[in-house]
């Protein structure tokens, strides 16, 4: 897995991590908070006695200090986590090492709801993840939708309680509606019922769908959806099966 993941910061060195955080954090912090627009009165009103607005340099210094503090806090949290988790079964401590996408998306998750916060790394994340897409060598995107349904139902894989010699599932129903006969589905992702019927089964749609399952962040930065191919959860063959579940006209997903 380690070698396959491009855009993964290798360093587990705290100092390096902290530095990286500052580098990443600086542009994020520079965006927020957005200054409220002060309405301009046409009449030159009496000047209220106010404290002088901070100069650009002062404001920048304040933002830099906040970014440095945040980076330090992140480094502290990472050190605490390293000391608080134990390797077990197939899960080693390197699961705690973030790649660039995870690092930026954690910041976005933490700060995204703040008023005035603007997330500006979406395009960068999508471009970086788009580069990771690897399509099947035979050029075919559709497998067997019946196999895809099994993969969509299966929730195991990559947990320390799972058998690493058995294939992982996609657990699609945890978050999506697919076959309408399955009523136990989650709603963290959109309903995919009629996915193929609505979009058609063209080569372009097949390629996009395969790519989206392979690496969701190529098309949707900081998606909640795992990067199934990129992170080595599902094989190319498995992704083809799930693509078929979504697009095959015979699939119950597309049944009327």
């Amino acid at each position: 897995m380690k070698n396959k993941i491009a855009f993964r910061s290798k360093s587990s060195n705290t100092v390096l991590l902290a530095t990286a955080c500052v580098l990443f954090a600086a542009p994020l912090f520079a965006q927020a908070p957005v200054k409220p627009v002060v309405p301009v009165t046409p009449v030159a009103a009496k000047k209220p006695v106010v404290k002088a607005a901070p100069t650009k340099a002062e404001a920048a210094a304040k933002l830099a200090a906040a970014a440095a503090y945040d980076a330090q806090l992140t480094a502290t949290a990472q050190a605490v986590m390293r000391a608080s988790f134990k390797e077990r079964g197939q899960v080693k401590l390197d699961r705690l090492d973030q790649d660039g996408t995870q690092e930026l998306c954690s910041k976005y998750a933490e700060r995204g709801a703040e008023p005035g916060y603007k997330f500006t790394d979406g395009k960068f994340i999508e471009a970086a993840n788009l580069k990771t897409l690897i399509y099947p060598p035979d050029g075919l995107f559709l497998g067997d939708w019946k196999e895809g349904e099994k993969i969509a139902q299966l929730g195991v894989g990559k947990q320390f309680s799972d058998d690493p010699t058995k294939p992982s599932g996609g657990n699609c129903y945890a978050c999506h509606q697919l076959d309408p006969k399955e009523i136990s589905y989650g709603n963290l992702g959109p309903s995919l019922y009629q996915y193929g019927k609505l979009r058609g089964n063209t080569q372009a749609i097949q390629k996009y769908t395969y790519g989206k399952i392979y690496n969701s962040n190529a098309y949707s930065a900081c998606s909640n959806m795992p990067r199934f191919g990129h992170s080595g959860i599902l094989t190319a063959e498995q992704i083809k099966h799930v693509t078929a579940l979504l697009l095959d006209p015979e699939s119950p997903v597309n049944a009327k």
Binding site: M1, L73, T74, T76, A77, V80, M81, A83, S84, F85, K86, E87, R88, V91, K92, L93, R95, L96, D97, Q98, T101, Q102, C105, S106, K107, A109, E110, A113, K158, Q159, F160, S161, Y173, A174, C175, Q177, P180, K181, I183, S184, Y185, G186, N187, L188, S191, Y193, N224, P226, R227, S231, G232, I233
Partner: protein, 273 residues
């Protein structure tokens, strides 16, 4: 017996909701209503009482190499005080110079008062069929003694504040093979995994509802589960390594979640599916 009854209730409720949900592709609302009915049916008889009673007995009974009870154990409101302590934990303790939650503090008392080494005290902390743990009984008893009290966790001490800040970072920390963090499932309103609803723990009201009902008797497991177990099993599903029992990180995350739930009335041990 109780387990069999509630299982049959579950089956009945799920079947009756299945027919409704099938007529409705977006199914959510009626299914959720059915699950809510199931929860109300459960609340009538909570087997956690058995754990609470066993925990109370253990609290008073001398044990360990030093043959001491817990009655001199300081959980935050003075030696031997049980009433109300769960509402103020985690908190900073000067004797250990650490922020501790209920579970890690109990381990301290076992060591200091009873002479039980931490490694032994934490060897088996999660029960399984045929194995009942001391930890889960004690946790059930102590938490039960704060029933109906408002959660009132303080960040006055710098280490308490730091625990909160570290816990907050952990909550939003996405990683592992699946890019999951706590926030993936617990960062938005009205979310479900399959049919299990997920509290939005970044918001006060749902955080209060969730935190105030742990520890809890889990029907599906036939066990009372501690908050440490709740975090342990979330991280397992998150594809993270194993969260060490009572570790600094586990207490920090508990602090973040408990503080967010401040003001909510404790109703633990509750009963959950």
């Amino acid at each position: 017996m109780i387990k069999r009854i509630v299982t049959s209730v579950l089956v009945t409720v799920l079947f009756s909701t299945a027919s409704i949900a099938q007529n409705n592709n977006q199914g959510g609302d009626s299914t959720i209503a059915g699950i809510e009915k199931y929860r109300q049916a459960l609340a009538d008889a909570n087997p956690a009482e058995l754990w609470e009673a066993r925990g109370e007995e253990m609290w008073k009974q001398p044990a360990g190499p030093k043959n001491a009870s817990f009655e001199k154990c300081d959980l935050g409101l003075g030696a031997g005080v049980v009433k109300g302590v769960y509402a103020i934990l985690p908190k900073y303790f000067a004797d250990t110079d650490k922020v501790q939650d209920l579970e890690s503090r109990l381990v301290t008392c076992m060591g200091e008062l009873q002479g039980i080494a931490a490694a032994d005290a934490t060897k088996v902390v999660f029960g399984s069929s045929g194995v009942k743990t001391d930890m889960e009984a004690l946790v059930a008893y102590v938490a039960g003694e704060s029933r109906n009290l408002p959660i009132k966790v303080s960040l006055a001490h710098p280490k308490e504040k730091m625990a909160y800040e570290v816990g907050k970072k952990m909550f939003f920390y996405r990683g592992g093979t699946h890019d999951f963090g706590c926030v993936t499932c617990h960062g938005a309103d009205n979310s479900r995994i399959r049919l299990q609803d997920l509290p939005n723990l970044s918001k006060k009201e749902p955080a209060q509802r969730a935190y105030s009902t742990w520890p809890a008797y889990r029907v599906s497991q036939g066990e009372v589960r501690s908050f440490q177990w709740r975090l342990f099993d979330c991280f397992r599903q998150q594809r993270f390594p194993q969260l060490a029992f009572g570790s600094e990180g586990s207490v920090a995350l508990t602090m973040f979640l408990a503080y967010n739930a401040n003001g909510g009335a404790l109703n633990a041990p509750a009963i959950k599916r």
